[in-house]
Subunit: 214 residues, 2 copies
Amino acid sequence: MSENENSKKPYVTYGDRCCGCPGSTLPISGCRFTLAPMTDRYVEIITEAVAKVDTSKVWKNTDHLSTVYRGKQIHVVDAVKACFVHAYREGVHMTMEATFTKGCPGDCDADCFMAEDDIRMNEEQIRDIHFPVACKIALYPMGTDSYMKEIAHVVNRAVDLNLYDCSTHYATYLYGDVQDLFNYFDEVTRYCGEKISHYILEATLSVNSPTPRQ
Amino acid sequence: MSENENSKKPYVTYGDRCCGCPGSTLPISGCRFTLAPMTDRYVEIITEAVAKVDTSKVWKNTDHLSTVYRGKQIHVVDAVKACFVHAYREGVHMTMEATFTKGCPGDCDADCFMAEDDIRMNEEQIRDIHFPVACKIALYPMGTDSYMKEIAHVVNRAVDLNLYDCSTHYATYLYGDVQDLFNYFDEVTRYCGEKISHYILEATLSVNSPTPRQ
């Protein structure tokens, strides 16, 4: 056996789990996100924002690529919103790539706080902060043939809320105030968490882009 | 009817299309990506990189949020790789969020160039450029119950190629040279495009992070 093969990591296996059988028995929602402030001061902006979030009701981890929060849906969205708002700087272009999800057959009952009430820890500090956000979203309802109907339902809620901008290849574009956008994320992740066994809502948020919307 | 309702955009509808019935009759692959160089010079880096890519074999569009390429799988990956490599600057932390995909029931036969040979337009200019990349990926095979097996297969190819770093909540972490990583993306998108009616490979690439890998 070559040295190369000796050092190879073991294969992963996810067993025979399939959709409809989440790997966790608890209703764990999660979000993994990457902040990218496009300025020389990005380190201070990211570290300050991550530190300012009250994470007492979510499990969290930050590494070289991203931050993940896990717990009850309402607290995960509250914490992600707080991190994004705390990282906002007037005039600084920034993106946040965020994956909201629940129900993966490969999930487990670890790394989460679930026995919490519904009082959001960050909302009071951030609810009066307003700035416009451009955003692209894509919803992936897993393990079903008729997922386009679920996607249309979720997109049309954005139409109802005047957040819908346009449809384009591989994404739906939204535009609106940060408060309205996160209210929408809160509603959609609650809806999908109840209706869809395993969903992924992939979002890229952008503020202060020098490129005008088309 | 209130003014608000008058100005509301029309609802989207994706009809009764379901998985296994791609909206396009052509085998159109695509990638939508967002570059984020974390430096005050981000505008020049992004615009220069986008302009330097030879896009003669892909359909393209850039807007305030992202760039999209559509066409034959080999040329889409070639163009995305070129844009990433051209945006690389020594010492500058940068992320690229990229959605590689094919087969969406909502797709259509527009906005692509397909009648092309397999000679890559950018490879020769970029194939000798090397730098390490940290990356997280998530594969979403749509419309099937047994998607965890396809995910395991694709992750285990990264193990074979010594690109696999670790598994974590909602993502698989990779680490390796930019050439090896894009060879992997080329192989995986070809495999998924042939085996899975509708797939999404979501990736976030990161270079020059000041945070060490754990």
